[in-house]
Subunit: 453 residues, 2 copies
């Protein structure tokens, strides 16, 4: 029906009025619901516009670009904005493409959360559309405080992790200065630093996580104020900072007056084993600033996260958060506290862990059988495997060949800092079912064969 009406709209031309619903119902002998759904669809697609009381009209044709914007090149100069790796991670599924590059779990991962009911309930709360407290709802600050292990007073509610990291980096580090990144690292954090004119400096790790000797050397060289770190189930390699390294990193931080930004993104994405507590719990003196969010374990559209910070820095972060976009929408905050305190939450987290664990086991087995000369450490949390390519196999060529086989994978270079190829791929199992994994590995094998042919 929508297609028929769209054709008629096109024929009628911009500005023409469509017949009313009753006339359309008569003409096509279909129900009012069918007509309404078709019209809704055309409104959504921008084909027609409704003017209340007047009717439905064919939308204006898209205008051509203005005549001369070349002057903008001179004013804009080179762009500071860097989105490397983000496009791929945010792209939703294309037909016939297995998405192993995306950053969000499929929405059914842990079974349905009663999110929609919670939001509908939130929508009916009196005053819910008024500005909530700038730092967030007390109940939500209290819940995040309990999860992270700090007082509610130390919590700032944010619209997710990306925004939280942006606020933190810009509040503490002036443009032109260095920020240290435990590598491999998350491209979203790199994009924030680079887009703010900051210099990203790599600090590599090993199987126990970030190397304190290299952290110390990087600090002597750069005098950086901030280290960005994912101590628990790092993206992309699933690495967990060992107990000894936790002490050593905090020791270095204390000696150098360093802030450690702990991106605790995978707090509810363990695969079943006990999950180490947030690093901030080991830190008595306000060095660690922790961020976490409900966008992964809850839903991408539940753009609710939190910053935990202690000491003077908390006031500065709260101030910049307000400047950045005032406050987080009340209905979303109410829906979030409703869902995480519901009886469904614990089961959802448990099922998510079980589903991720099953996927990792299957993917590990498939990779070891089909691609035995590729190496990796199976992660115990998070959404991805960090796959090391055999020596001599070209990363970029493999990414391109995989795409030709209908498989999207994350290029290792997007997760690295430096001028050598990383020799890795990031394989996300967040958006594939367990049963799609053998096919995905087979496509990767075919891609490898194509590169080597």
């Amino acid at each position: 029906m929508a297609r028929i009406l769209a054709a008629r709209a096109q024929a009628a031309g911009p500005g023409a009025r469509l017949p009313g619903s009753r006339a359309l119902i008569r003409e096509f002998a279909v129900s009012a619901t069918t007509i309404q759904q078709a019209l809704d669809r055309l409104v959504q697609d921008g084909v027609v516009v409704t003017r209340p009381g007047a009717g439905t009209f064919v939308a204006a044709r898209r205008e051509p670009e203005p005549s001369d914007t070349r002057w903008q090149d001179v004013t804009l100069q080179a762009s500071p904005v860097d989105t490397t790796g983000l496009d791929l991670a945010l792209r939703t599924g294309e037909p016939d493409l297995l998405p192993m590059a995306v950053g969000y779990p499929s929405s059914d991962l842990g079974g349905d959360l009663p999110l929609s009911a919670a939001l509908a309930r939130a929508a009916r709360r009196p005053g819910v559309w008024d500005p909530p407290p700038v730092l967030g709802l007390p109940s939500l600050r209290s819940w995040f405080g309990q999860q992270i292990g700090v007082s509610p007073d130390n919590i700032i509610v944010t619209p997710g992790t990306q925004s939280a990291l942006s606020t933190i980096f810009r509040a503490i580090v002036p443009a032109g200065e260095s920020i240290l990144f435990a590598t491999p690292t998350y491209p979203g954090a790199l994009a924030i630093a680079r887009s703010a004119g900051q210099v990203a400096v790599p600090v590599p790790g090993d199987e126990d996580g970030l190397r304190p000797d290299l952290l110390e050397r990087a600090l002597e060289r750069t005098q950086a104020r901030v280290l960005y770190l994912q101590p628990t189930f790092a993206n992309p390699d699933g690495n967990v900072l060992s107990a000894e390294r936790r002490r050593k990193v905090l020791d270095v931080a204390a000696r150098h007056g360093l802030f450690v930004v702990e991106d605790d993104w995978a707090r509810w994405l363990g695969h079943g084993d006990p999950i180490p507590p947030p690093l901030i719990r080991d830190d008595p003196n306000g060095h660690v600033i922790t961020v976490c969010s409900l966008t992964k374990a809850g839903a991408p559209g539940l753009r609710i996260g939190a910053i935990a910070a202690r000491g003077q820095v908390a006031a500065r972060l709260a101030a910049l958060r307000m400047v950045d976009d005032f406050f987080v929408s009340g209905p979303l905050q109410h829906a979030a506290i409703d869902v995480v305190t519901s009886t469904a939450w614990a089961g959802h987290v448990r099922r998510t862990a079980a589903a991720l664990g099953a996927r990792v086991n299957r993917l590990t087995a498939e990779l070891r059988s089909a691609l035995p000369d590729f190496t990796f450490v199976p992660p115990r949390g998070g959404l991805s495997i960090w796959l090391e390519l055999p020596a001599g196999l070209d990363e970029d060529a493999l990414v391109r060949a995989a795409r030709e086989q209908g498989l999207a994978v994350g290029p290792g270079r997007d997760y690295s800092i430096g001028d050598h190829p990383s020799g890795h791929l990031r394989l996300s199992f967040a958006n594939l079912t367990e049963h799609q994994l053998p096919d995905a590995v087979a496509r990767l094998g075919a891609a490898r064969a194509a590169v080597q042919a």
Copy 2:
């Protein structure tokens, strides 16, 4: 009931388990609903926590601040973050204080919008929690495009105006460079520029709006890339850029390669007369970047706005928008398009105009009668009057004295750039009913008498 349970929780101490709902129902002989509402309240307030399957427990006491965060002073140094004027504009009502400093209209201004029903409907859409397109829903881009007068391709959906301005300023202007502001101006925009390390440069206007001769001189002096301007119903003075000035400003922009950031914040807040079209419609060559939002005419919690930009700059803005926080929550976008295309929207905008017009007329009459030596130009749109104080009357003293009389007003200096006192107050009539206005003016009169005594 909540108070009784809170007292019991306090007596029981942190970690103690509260009796189950049934026991409480028996003990207090009240309904299950009463108990549930009381417990919900305590959870919201952070007094107790519920652990699904285990029961309700008294929440842990708030921890003391960590022992030593003085090292942070050395690392943080002076704060770049500036929130002047924002605190006051976001503060919600305090008892016995007439709020003439807030920035949002009271939620009943234009009568009820069916926002909650729209959000409940949005919550039930399949896939609504998945990531929407990074630039926004096509339907919403199309609607904003029609309102502003550009193609939907030129629209980027944002979570309100504040976030949009932050993206624009940081995308175009490096830290340390100047941004021009038509003064008096909006403190939120000043806060963004200053917090990003940019230098705010004033360009004064007169009754026809921004003075092109001073714009030209400011450009020669600073080589600025961006002018921030509210051509239609400027905050705080309600000024409208005249037709001749529109041409002249665009002419200066063309000659200097200048971006004009048009903050079209009051698009749906006219008081009844025809509203001039957005400045971007007069600009063929991509100089004007327009922002507008639904947070004022819709509701503060409906954090949906738009950027309209043409030429190469649009891609840079879209890239930084993605880096800043990925995308705007799907349910809010769907609720927004639902409401603005509903039959209720036009009536809501009309009633808002009528209510604002009635308030301005009343406030104008009261001020002229009670404070004849204060001067102002009655605005034909927007939410505030820019009141010039009689010579010699101290602005800061008057603000303090008004507060003692139970009246919050905006200090003129928050809306100014420079080192002299502005000699103005901003009086917002957005959050007072027409009938509260005489009382507000009487309190201002009493404050003036107190200052002069």
